[in-house]
């Protein structure tokens, strides 16, 4: 939100206009954010970690928004992440980790981080 402005807009305020009423009519109830996402297959500890990540992201990048928008943005990021997840891959990953001992699990996490960094760098370079 700290970036350059997209444009400059000159407002001519009509003091006889009911701006609030206009706003409420612009966004009717039938367009409310659909929050029905199946997160039942995700372990509680991972849901908590995802929530912490989303909150941290909104706190740092979108902290200018007041309530209730602040909460809505956290929910949006949380649900979008789960919508984009590959359920089978997640379950397979958890099964593989469950079969490893502690040191193997930690090594796998380090390896995964490296692959993620390579993936992100590659994507950024392509953009």
């Amino acid at each position: 939100m700290e970036g350059a402005n997209d444009e400059v807009e000159n407002y001519i305020i009509d003091t006889n206009k009911d701006y609030r009423d206009e706003f409420l009519k612009q966004y009717p109830e039938d367009k409310i954010l659909d929050e029905r996402v199946d997160d039942s297959y995700i372990e509680l500890k991972h849901k908590k970690a995802l929530f912490a990540y989303c909150k941290s992201m909104i706190d740092s990048k979108y902290n200018v928004y007041p309530e209730p928008m602040y909460t809505l943005l956290i929910k949006k990021l949380y649900y979008d992440t789960i919508k984009n997840m590959d359920k089978d891959q997640y379950i397979k990953e958890q099964e593989e980790l469950a079969n490893m001992n502690f040191i193997e699990q930690e090594m796998q996490i380090v390896k995964d981080n490296e692959s993620l960094e390579i993936y992100l760098n590659k994507n950024n370079n392509e953009k």
Partner: protein, 436 residues
Amino acid sequence: MSLTESLPLSMRYSVTGSDAIPAKTTLSRFDATSSSYNSASNNKILIPVNAGDKFLDVSKGYLHFNVVSNHTDDAAVTAMMIGNGACVISKMEIQCSGSSGKVESIDNYNVYHLYDGLWKSNVNDLTYLQAVAGAGAPALESKARGVALTKAAGSSVNCCIALKGAFLNPYYGKALPAGMNQFTIEITLDSLKNAFVESAASADAPFDFTLSEVRYYCPTYQVLDEGIMASYAQQVSSQPIMWIGESVNAITNTIAAATGKQTLQINSSYRSLNGLCTLIRTSASLENMNKNSLTAVNIEKVTSYKYRIMSESYPSDDIDVSATNTGRCYIEASKVFAPHGKAQSICSAVSLTQFTATANKDAVNLDAACHGSLCVDLKKFSDERLVMSGLDTSAGGPSTIEMTFSSAPNASTATTLALHDRMFIHAPNGVITAQF
């Protein structure tokens, strides 16, 4: 371990690949209702503000105007701003449509704005203020005189002023909610004799100035996701939204030219009174074209002071003041004007020399004005996460300041600033109320 590392790999790919929340930033401009204003005639500026479905980031907003002095007789005379462009604002109010009365009203706005600004300024802030607000050239200490305007049509200056007050400066820098009713920034201009000093001993008429291009600029943010906005609209019409900031009330008293103890009534009743600051200005210097009427505040001849609030002394013992004993007095001022969450305000703009300077440092040709004040800090905590941490005086009861003078001071005007937390509640029906 970072937050992303605590997520399983499949989730991490998903969260890092999620689309950014679509949003648009716009620098919005809200014009005043008239094209120009004169300090002697149409001196009330109205700026209606509403950004529809956008969030107003008022903590980054600023008032813009062009100012010209109308004195015409003598080409050699210049009218110099006192401090910076904020000197022209005598009163600032916020009126919200649908709400009864003003939700915020600050008298002696220029006195408060300039003095508060001094305590928050170092040389880098003074450099900034010269560039944007018509202040004088930067130096370690503040300079009393700002831009010098020559006779009418000779010169003008454009100023950008970040307005103070609770409504436009909430703690934590949160934006004002989208979907609000329209609100109006109402500004009353001060007289030329108060806001400026003229360079000549014989002041040059007419004593008024003109403001044009009066606008309020403010970044606005729009979330471009219809689903989120519809959810937001549904919630703002069913639950209240709150924001809070520090506001100020100015109480005016007179100080007699008499030796000994003098007591002034303050009577400030607030749920969170954060601090009190009494500013003493020589009465003869107010509305005087050749005197600094705004920032020349002095503690000359004061030997001790304390506040008495609802029968209790604040601080518990008197604060003694002398040329060699200014520590406690300076610390209290530094604490009163500390930014939210800070224990003290450390500045370079108010030096010891300026803090103890005598009342005659308000003359037209002086940049080193007197900047002493009699303050008491009443906040219990200075943690940024806490609000309403001041003294609860809402039960009422008398409050006073007791000052002792070693000899008769100038007959003076004492302006006591009562800094307090002011909470705004945007009700589900759109009405905004202030609680304090």
